[in-house]
């Protein structure tokens, strides 16, 4: 298994900059997810790693081997496509054997290795069918088998679950993760589904506007977003963000609400801010409803999600924040709620740079 290094890799299509110069090192055996809205350059980056797309500038290394200008076939990588891209005129068996035939393996060796992956993925019953006869999930299993059979240095997956039904996606997610744990294969996985990203990855690369916004573990991008984009994009709903004023250890929210900053943060805020303006952010679960809470708002809407209730609370000053409450208590629309914020989970952003303060 290989490490993948991107050094100042950039992609332009004419005037349009699809990927701004980016640096990234993916460790051997790591499961890295590129996450971002559509058109953010994540798929283009993946395709550059695979060699299906040329880089405009910069270099790509696989295990210190410079592959920037190598053909896809010479890079020793496997690619799993969103729409499977199984060869329609071949049976599942022939599809899986196809990469091995390119290597000129003997027939016995091909049969042996096909059987190996077929057993691993438990798709023996599908072998004689053409892709047209297979369900979406089975197609993707065959596509995975085709990728696995060559034992490549790295797996690149472009939204492999995007074309599957919702319930199927969940079980395939677990299958792919399990497979990764078994093989310990370096995997780069592109998705716009943050649940997939959170559930599967060792590290998430959040991209937007052709740029890397943050690279970090799922916990890092969730709890410590590097900037406002990540704060909004990760989580559903995203982080509550409010433009506020800071002074003397107190954040004044729009309206009458105030939040007293914990002593640990005061230094950082003093250094990180160039004016009084600050954006305060907290996740819905960072708010704890209690009768003597410091912050107060009016229930605007209440959504029962089953395991918990998501309250939309309108604060003084017309800001609406999302607050997670338990599933039992009912909060009638229009009623007042008081809550406190968990100081561990409150984040601050510089409104000018949009970067987190820490």
């Amino acid at each position: 298994m290989a490490t993948i290094k991107l050094r100042q890799v950039e992609k332009r299509f004419g005037e349009f900059q699809a990927v701004k110069p980016m640096d990234l090192t993916i460790d051997s055996g790591e499961f890295v997810v590129f996450l971002g809205p559509s058109g953010c350059g994540k798929t283009t980056t993946l395709r550059m790693i695979s060699g299906l797309e040329s880089v405009s500038t910069g270099d790509i290394f696989l295990d210190d081997r410079k592959v920037t200008w190598l053909r896809p076939s010479d890079r020793d990588i496997a690619f799993v496509f969103q729409f499977f891209a199984l060869y329609p005129h071949m049976t599942a068996q022939q599809n899986i054997a196809f990469p091995l035939q390119a290597e000129g393996e003997s027939k016995d060796e091909i049969d042996r290795r096909v059987k190996e992956v077929v057993d691993l993925l438990q798709i023996g019953h599908l072998l004689n069918f053409r892709p047209g006869k297979l369900s979406g999930g089975d197609k993707q299993r065959v596509a995975l088998a085709r990728a696995l059979v060559r034992r490549p240095a790295a797996f690149l997956m472009d939204e492999p679950l995007g074309a599957l039904d919702a319930d199927f996606r969940e079980s395939m997610r677990a299958e792919i993760k399990q497979l990764h744990l078994n093989l310990n294969a370096t995997t780069v996985y592109v998705t716009h589904d943050q649940i997939e990203a959170m559930a599967m990855s060792d590290r998430i690369v959040v991209m937007s506007n052709a740029e890397v916004q943050q690279v970090g573990t799922p916990a890092q991008v969730y709890y410590d977003p590097a900037n406002l984009f990540v704060a909004r994009f990760i989580g559903s709903p995203g982080m509550n963000l409010m433009a506020s004023q800071y002074g003397n250890g107190i954040v004044r929210l729009p309206g009458a609400n105030q939040y007293v900053v914990s002593p640990d943060w005061r230094m950082a805020l003093g250094e990180g801010l160039d004016s009084d303006d600050v954006i305060i952010g907290f996740r819905p679960e960072a708010a704890h409803i209690k009768p003597d809470g410091n912050l107060v708002g009016e229930v605007y809407a209440s959504e029962l999600y089953g395991a918990y209730t998501m309250l939309h609370v309108e604060l003084d000053g017309n800001e609406i924040v999302h607050i997670r409450s338990d599933r039992q208590t009912r909060y009638p629309i229009g009623s007042k709620v008081r809550f406190d914020l968990d100081p561990e989970m409150v984040r601050f952003f510089n409104p000018k740079t949009e970067m987190a303060i820490n």
């Binding site: 695979s50 299906l52 896809p72 076939s73 990588i77 690619f79 891209a85 329609p88 990469p99």
Partner: protein, 332 residues
């Protein structure tokens, strides 16, 4: 039926796997449509049937008024068409009749008209020329068209749209307009009345058709298939050969038939640019009209034999053709 009318839907069901649930009006319309199509097909077939019948009629039956539908079939027309004969008289005729058993089928038929078969006629050569020229130009234009179409479909070619339009524009001038300059050029280049010249000409003429048609078919094949092959360890050409080609089979079949039909039927160029060596069947059939007495059965036999290869090819490729023609309409 009565039960249906009381409980059935207000709007007629036009498609159902249960025959009893189809509204009578819908069923009637379906039959009416079928009958209409049948009538149109019959009208369309009249000339072909007339030609087919005439090809097997004797000299007397051909000119009979009203035309005979029931007659004794004979291969006379084919004998006249395919052989060179000489008239026998007197003792020679007697001699030939005595040895009639040694003659082949054609020889015996010719003998009934007091003629001896001397050898195959020009028409056999013409048909052979047609086969070489139409076949050769079709193969070349489909192969070249396939590569060009693939490149236009997959790569960023500078001035792609202009090039494609240019290729199409080669087909815009009617044949009559360009034959004279072509004639002069062909004579200068020594291509006049050669197979090579005709193959080149039909290839160029057909290329616009094949490039455009095949580009449409290749556009429909998702790029992911080739990309998968590229990462699976194959070169671009291997991916083209192993993945794109099988996928494009229907398109290639349809394109082949279209360009074969054009090259096979082409008349104006063939008339002007060939004389003897490379003359194809269509102008040859037409010139038969002008030679002495009109042998209608021979002409009918000529057109019939001329029709057969195209019918066979179309029939062999019909499954591909049907899918090819409706290809763009259905996404898989």
């Amino acid at each position: 039926m009565a039960a249906f009318e009381e409980t059935g839907p207000r709007n007629p069901v036009t498609e159902s796997i249960r025959v009893d649930k189809v509204h009578p009006r819908a069923r009637f319309m379906k039959n009416a449509r079928a009958i209409l199509v049948l009538i149109l097909a019959l009208i369309g077939l009249i000339p072909v049937v007339a030609m087919g019948l005439t090809a097997f009629k004797s000299r007397a039956d051909v000119v009979a008024v009203p035309p005979k539908l029931a007659f004794e079939p004979t291969l006379e027309g084919f004998v006249f068409l395919l052989t060179e004969r000489s008239q026998l008289s007197g003792s020679k005729l007697e001699e030939a009749k005595a040895n009639a058993d040694d003659l082949g089928l054609f020889g015996q038929i010719a003998l009934r008209n007091g003629q001896r078969v001397n050898g195959p006629s020009d028409y056999v050569t013409r048909l052979w020329n047609s086969l070489i020229i139409a076949g050769g130009s079709t193969i070349i234009s489909v192969v070249l068209g396939l590569f060009a179409a693939y490149a236009f479909s997959r790569f960023d070619i500078p001035g792609k749209d202009d090039l494609l339009f240019f290729i199409l524009s080669t087909r815009m001038l009617p044949a009559v307009v360009v034959t004279i300059p072509l004639f002069l050029m062909f004579r200068q280049l020594g291509l006049f009345d050669t197979h090579l010249g005709m193959i080149l000409l039909y290839t160029v003429f057909n290329l616009s058709l094949t490039v455009w048609l095949l580009k449409g078919f290749i556009d429909e094949i998702p790029r992911e298939y080739e990309e998968a092959a590229l990462v699976d360890g194959y070169t671009r050409f291997q991916a083209f050969y192993k993945i794109v080609l099988p996928q494009a089979a229907t398109g290639i079949a349809a394109t082949t038939v279209f360009s074969l039909i054009f090259a096979w039927n082409e008349y104006a160029f063939a008339l002007m640019l060939t004389s003897n060596n490379a003359r194809t069947a269509p102008p040859a059939i037409a010139t038969m009209l002008g030679r002495g007495g009109i042998e209608w059965s021979a002409i009918a036999a000529g057109t019939l034999t001329f029709l057969i290869p195209v019918v066979i090819i179309t029939f062999v490729l019909r499954r591909h053709l049907l899918r090819g023609v409706t290809f763009g309409a259905i996404r898989q």
